[in-house]
């Protein structure tokens, strides 16, 4: 259990798209302002700001150096994580739990149109070996994992495509999503461009420009700020070994992260107790592997959940009603968006794609080849 209760009290995100016609500064300013407005507080109320962006993705060193003003961090205690925004939320949570701060603004963004993020991913591999051989990037490694998973548990391409169909159709009702395909079919997914077999255009998250921000507050402040706080009831994070030395048949670090979060939140039966999940599925098969790592089903049974519609909006455990990362992937914002989308469901603000009666939600962020590191949040309504 945590020593202090912390809640999400406001949020905002951009309309994610490829090649947003907006500077980074403006994009970040808009979501930071938007989150503060949503919370009904001013810049002067914020104690600390944590942002998320990476130098390689932004194409410049100290990627946030010209953004502190835009995000409202002028003369404020701020810092930056260099990975997915859900990790920035984790850091901000820690700052509040420490007692040193009460209100935190968290922001994450990437304009992926600046430089192909898949190319950037090739720079994360072992420079003494893998990089010199030149075969690996996030897509090729995901493909290797996908094939291993398919062969290991007899999962078909159609079953994996089912995730894309669900999420891209869900996205049609999400005004912020980039890739909306209300009439998409399995056939369409399986005839989209083949990158690294079995990974195709419609089973990879799109490269998006986007930003997201949220406001966290300690219990006392949260109650002053809003009648509708979304409490962070549990959190867990974990990093796996490098790709040469880990078991690719499952996302082990996600399982560990989820177990920690469930324990903290007092959840013993996630399938029964979670009302909705927002998972960062950068590749369609990752969602199936995610169901297993999150203990929604046994290993290898993820395909059943999608085939039987269990994770559809109308199913027993809706996953990614927002469309997930397959609908928009502004990389460093993606995990933060999952947290916001989960919070939206709890606050009943997901117009057009609201799941009824949501009290407990799970939000997930990841970073690294084949989801090497993961962070899981359990959120709960009043």
């Amino acid at each position: 259990m945590m020593n202090r209760r912390v809640a999400i009290v406001g949020y905002a995100q951009s309309r994610h798209q490829y090649d947003m016609q907006q500077t980074r500064e403006d994009m970040v300013f808009d979501v930071a302002k938007g989150a503060l407005k949503d919370a009904g507080i001013g810049r002067e109320d914020v104690d600390t700001v944590i942002t998320a962006s990476t130098d390689f993705l932004d194409g410049r060193t100290i990627s946030n150096v010209f953004l502190s003003m835009a995000v409202g961090a002028y003369l404020k205690d701020e810092s930056k994580v260099e990975e997915d925004g859900a990790f920035a939320a984790l850091y901000a949570l820690m700052r509040i739990l420490s007692g040193n701060h009460d209100i935190a603004l968290v922001e994450g963004h990437t304009q992926a149109s600046v430089f192909n993020p898949h190319q950037v991913s090739s720079f994360t591999f072992d420079p003494t070996f893998d990089r010199q051989i030149g075969l690996l990037n996030d897509v090729s490694t995901a493909a290797i994992q996908a094939r291993m998973y398919m062969n290991g548990y007899d999962v078909s391409e159609e079953q994996i495509a089912g995730v894309s169909v669900k999420n891209l159709a869900n996205a049609a009702n999400n005004p912020n999503a980039q890739r909306k395909m209300p009439d998409i079919t399995v056939e369409e997914v399986l005839s989209s461009k083949l990158y690294y077999d079995p990974i195709r255009e419609l089973t990879i998250s799109p490269s998006s420009d986007g930003a997201c921000a949220l406001v966290l507050a300690s219990e006392e402040k949260a109650k002053e700020i809003t009648d509708n706080p979304v409490w962070i009831e549990g959190v867990g994070s974990c990093q796996d070994s490098y790709i040469r030395d880990r078991d690719l048949l499952k996302i082990g670090s996600l399982q560990i992260a989820a177990e920690k979060a469930y324990k903290m939140a007092g959840i013993s039966d996630p399938f029964a107790e979670l009302d909705v999940l927002e998972i960062s599925e950068k590749f369609a098969h990752e969602e199936l592997m995610g169901y297993e790592a999150l203990s929604l089903c046994r290993e290898g049974r993820g395909k059943v959940l999608v085939e039987e519609g269990i994770t559809e909006k109308y199913g027993e455990v809706p996953v990614n009603p927002s469309g997930g990362a397959l609908a928009a992937d502004p990389i460093c914002a993606t995990g933060l968006i999952r947290i916001v989308e989960a919070a939206k469901q709890i606050r009943e603000e997901a117009d057009g794609y609201q799941i009824p009666d949501v009290y407990k939600a799970l939000a997930h962020g990841q970073f690294g080849a084949c989801a090497q590191k993961n962070v899981v949040f359990i959120l709960g309504g009043e």
Partner: protein, 413 residues
């Protein structure tokens, strides 16, 4: 409120090119030294925070590959990168891991291996910072020769030149005082077995003889670009008390950021702060950190300071901003020997960033060195007096990022 202390530190030897190790081995050295010093096993460490400037070494998200070398698999790992303040930001994040209660023993690791990029010091990273200099060229006027010289020794010089000039103009500090600071730092570094530029018994005259690069900076004033790594282990109060008799308690910390327009910024927007030595963010960070630490009179209560000073002018400027000297007097104090290792207010007994600058790691080194002083473990460069409180500082970005940490021999109450 949970008290947190540093219980162990580890560093590597710093040099222009550590060709003898690859970056994973280099970082592992520091991490393992720190864990040994802290007397913890990797299994006891339950979270890791790491950082470096990834553009400089050419590896993106390096801890994904290198994690195994520092005991990362199976643990929560956070990556932090904030320019020059990176090391300090990493240390502060590790503090927060423990202070939040989510972790009991956190390992903080920061490094830089410039030499992995084609040209040490002239990597994409530093050259990008040089962009700030072009704005000076256009707006304030810098002749081409100075601009080229600046780029040759490390682009950040341009930023610091203007900052130094403002300070010298305001305070009466002269170039001789910069010579004094650099000489002190290089001599101190000679007593620090991990430092890069070690010049035993260096005198101001030795420095004054070196070539002028761009007024007022001589070659002998400017920091090196080092390869190196440092690591620190943070622990909760219960564990710290079991592991060591003299932990270095984190009593206060802050990292305020300032207006980047002081360098006219990339989009040349807004009104800039003209005087880059004003450093309001440093004043505020220091005030907040001292308040948390219960320190009311830093001039009397701080026993030693580790200031991030790739340029000697910054030692003086930031010493004043940290409240260690009255405005405009730090250079006089230096002249009178007050800032020597055995002086009244020792600054950078380790030699500081002026003698060793592995960018991702340097701000962590300031925290590390301050901790060593509190713990009495700084060996040859230990200040010869009781250290009850120490302050560690870092700056970064285009001089708009600041990180301040106050450490002491007793926990916050």
């Amino acid at each position: 409120m949970r008290n947190v202390a540093i219980i162990g530190c580890g560093q590597t030897k710093h040099a222009s090119r550590r060709r003898d190790v690859n970056v994973a081995e280099m970082v592992a050295d520091a991490a393992w030294n720190a864990m040994e010093d802290a007397q913890v096993t990797p299994d006891e460490v339950d979270s890791i925070v790491d950082g470096n400037m990834q553009g400089f070494g050419g590896i993106a998200q390096a801890e994904q590959w290198m994690g195994e070398w520092i005991g990362a698999p199976g643990k929560p790992v956070l990556r932090i990168a904030t320019g020059g303040t990176t090391g300090g930001s990493v240390a502060q994040a590790a503090y927060y891991q423990v202070a939040s209660g989510l972790s009991d023993i956190a390992l903080a690791v920061a490094w830089e291996k410039h030499s992995d990029s084609k040209e040490a010091g002239a990597t994409t990273g530093l050259l990008h910072v040089a962009l700030g200099n072009f704005f000076h060229t256009f707006n304030y006027g810098m002749d081409l020769k100075s601009l080229v010289a600046t780029a040759a020794v490390g682009a950040a010089a341009g930023v610091a030149v203007y900052q130094a000039r403002h300070y010298m103009h305001r305070s009466g500090c002269r170039i001789e005082h910069l010579d004094m600071v650099a000489a002190k730092d290089r001599s101190n570094a000679a007593k620090n077995k991990y430092a890069h530029l070690q010049w035993p018994n260096c005198t101001p005259d030795d420095i004054a003889k070196t070539k002028m690069i761009v007024e007022p900076f001589r070659y002998g004033h400017i920091c090196p670009a080092s390869d190196g790594a440092s690591a620190v282990v943070f622990a909760s109060e219960d564990i710290a008390k079991k592991k060591t008799d003299r932990p270095a308690w984190i009593k206060g910390l802050a990292s305020y950021s300032d207006e980047e327009n002081q360098m006219m910024s990339e989009n040349s927007g807004g009104t800039g702060i003209i005087d880059a030595s004003e450093q309001m963010a440093c004043r505020l960070s220091a005030m907040k950190a001292y308040e948390m630490a219960g320190i009311k009179d830093p001039q009397k209560e701080i026993d030693v300071a580790e200031i991030y000073q790739p340029f000697p002018s910054q030692e003086l400027i930031f010493a004043e901003r940290l409240g260690l000297f009255d405005e405009t007097t730090a250079w006089k104090a230096t002249e009178e020997g007050e800032t020597e290792i055995d002086g009244r207010m020792p600054l950078d007994p380790s030699g500081g960033t002026n003698a060793t600058n592995a960018i991702g790691s340097s701000a962590m080194q300031r925290v590390l060195e301050a901790a060593l002083q509190v713990m009495g473990k700084a060996e040859e460069h230990q200040v010869p007096k009781d250290v009850h409180n120490a302050v560690a500082h870092g700056w970064g970005g285009v001089t708009n990022y600041i990180v301040v940490t106050v450490l002491g021999d007793s926990p916050r109450r």
